[in-house]
Assembly symmetry: C2
Homo-oligomer: 403 residues x 2
């Protein structure tokens, strides 16, 4: 039987990260490739206690079909959470719960864009967003960044060009804080500029904020949603980095019209998120366990970030540049611009170190000498060894390149 797939399915391709997963089981491989929390960050005992309490108290309710929009207790807790952590004022009816923020990313592109329509984003941007948007035929146009985030002057130019062509972007997708993959945060001035552009041209902003609670240094910056007076911002986050990614619970806080469409799509896509997982997340917040557990996680990740930066300085010195993130899970490394990190990956894996090459994070016009390095998953000694291996591979790579 020869199956004939849809146009969008024909266009879907395995991502580099996915292909990388094949190598994760190579003995002794140190992987900076994935975006995984450290396993010790998961509050296994808390979750065990909570789950048992919940099943005893209302097991029959939690095992039944749940609400499409999401378990109400969790939406009530989220109102408090986003107020306390991001100064966002909202109510429970403006949340939609999803299977991680990946579902929210997929949903927003599906409801907002007809295939071929364009959105603007940072370049580089999150690889999972590229695959979600591509699955819906959404065309992403990347705007360059510097150490203060997306260049809003360039963003404005692009919007003007598109407006002149009669085709405004359907939305602007941003990860303003500890961006994936760059680790960069958008400066306050530029946050205001982005909102001003969104307001002037009436373009919605999708603010993706999975890493907000993972700050290791510097001062908190206000979320775009908290600065938004006109309901321009669709805000999304997840429990993947503050509780557990395996539970697959994400949330979107959005204006009514968007909530309604996301609900309708969710009913068609999977009916509801896992109710037990939603209830676990609600109880985790209700018992104030996030506040209790996160400081140790932040401390651990701060050390890992510092360990990686130290190792980069020791091993690369002036032969490379890297970002200095105040939080999140990633560093962005730029090598000698003769190096193609995609070509180099095979040799890196032979030397038992892995990363994701930078080109995978560009919707268009990639750079080829860059890579994303995750510092949360590995142990400190692995970080030291892995960066040392990486530096050796990069040095050999230079010698392999014909002068």
């Amino acid at each position: 039987m020869q199956f004939k797939f849809s146009a969008l399915a024909d266009a879907m391709k395995p991502s580099e990260i996915r292909e990388l997963l094949k190598y994760v089981s190579v003995p002794g491989l140190i992987s900076f490739g994935g975006g995984m929390p450290h396993p010790s960050s998961f509050p296994v005992n808390d979750i065990n206690t909570i789950t048992s309490d919940l099943l005893l108290e209302k097991g029959r309710q939690l095992l039944q079909y749940g609400s499409t929009q999401g378990y109400e207790d969790l939406r009530v807790q989220l109102v408090k959470l986003v107020k306390e952590t991001e100064n966002i004022s909202t109510d429970k009816d403006h949340f939609v719960l999803t299977a991680g923020s990946q579902e929210a990313l997929y949903s927003v592109s599906k409801i907002m864009t007809t295939p071929g329509e364009e959105v603007l984003c940072e370049a580089p941007t999150y690889i999972g967003t590229i695959s979600a948007f591509r699955a819906n035929g959404t065309v992403m146009r990347g705007i360059p960044m510097d150490e203060n985030g997306i260049l809003t002057e360039k963003l404005e130019e692009k919007i003007k060009t598109m407006k002149a062509a009669g085709k405004l972007p359907k939305f602007i997708y941003l990860i303003p804080t500890f961006q994936n993959p760059s680790g960069i945060s958008l400066s306050l001035d530029r946050r205001k500029h982005v909102l001003e552009l969104a307001s002037r041209y009436q373009i919605p902003i999708v603010e993706d904020n999975p890493y907000g609670e993972l700050r290791y240094s510097g001062n908190k910056l206000p979320s775009l949603k908290s600065l938004d007076k006109e309901d321009l911002v669709i805000y999304m986050s997840t429990f993947s980095k503050i509780l557990s990614p395996g539970l697959r619970v994400g949330f979107t806080c959005a204006p009514d019209a968007v909530v309604n469409k996301m609900n309708l799509l969710k009913q068609a896509t999977n009916l509801a998120t896992n109710t037990l997982a939603e209830a676990i997340a609600a109880e985790y917040l209700k018992r104030d366990l996030m506040r209790k557990n996160m400081p140790a996680v932040v401390k651990m990740y701060r050390e890992k970030r510092d360990t990686m930066i130290d190792a980069l300085e020791t091993n690369f010195g002036s032969d490379a540049n890297w970002s200095h993130p105040d939080g999140g899970m990633f560093l962005w490394l730029a090598l000698n611009d003769k190096i193609n990190t995609t070509d180099m990956l095979k040799r890196a894996i032979e030397k038992k170190v892995a990363y994701v090459s930078g080109s995978a994070f560009y919707p268009n016009n990639p750079t080829f000498n860059t890579m994303r390095l995750n510092f949360t998953y590995s142990d400190n000694d692995q970080i030291v060894d892995g960066i040392s291996r990486l530096a050796k591979v990069a040095k050999e790579e230079i010698s392999l390149i014909a002068p």
Copy 2:
């Protein structure tokens, strides 16, 4: 801010069932509307024990990001399950795990059809499939049924017409056993005829089998997948009816090419199913608890079905017709053909009884005097009272209609 949505999002509408949910909390309402298992069918204690054991044994693994295709232990258990229950021979690499079968339905229409392309199905058919397919712009053409299921002669005619027009259906979607909403099962002869048509015209079949384990009378019929020698059949089922719908674990057993595309879409849509829920389902099978628990559930549902049929006979006599399902969760009721059950629903809810009107289950050319009745969710005395209320409403409805 005026949001502009995609063409497909503009076409999405709230389903009647969704609207109905508003009334579920009306005090004293007896609802035959939803498709929910009885709460007493959930093995709460088993799930509690399993979850605790799993978290203690490998909590950190289960709370981490999981496999897109699905937790391997569960796929291994599913190989045994489909062999024992449906005589399907396959291996673990031919399963994709999903958030209930709803995600599988959505996925298969997204990967197989470009908006506007057509598929064939039973008429009436599952309302959730209609919403999943519609969200992807898949056009469904309903083929009539009788008490032995879809009329395969009509199906063949339609295929021939489509072939003559140069546009074969992308697949045939069927719920061959205890169909939702009709309760009807496809006869063995017609099962063979469907497969013969699929083979002759090289059209894939999507076989949706959520209710196979809920048999109350009659002899087991072979699944289409078990009769399929040419990899024509994409088979899907779920743990929603044999364990818990809140856990959102469904599974699809399909040929390689389909598994690959479903995986790629799943990576873009939600990365993975909740790993803990997958592990609970795996352990439930491994500990042989399904076999232990299901007989009591089947016995309970058999009584409910019989109670509903008795009540229909007592209250409607020859004023209506209804299906006599050997299993599943639903009866299909046809009233006097002057009655419009959609119009009648408001008055039924006033009398504190609810159903889903039949017209909601047709992708095109609906019937208006029909309804779907769920018999698994209500208690026996509610079934007796509810059918009595329904008969009164129907009698009054006749008197309301001008002669």
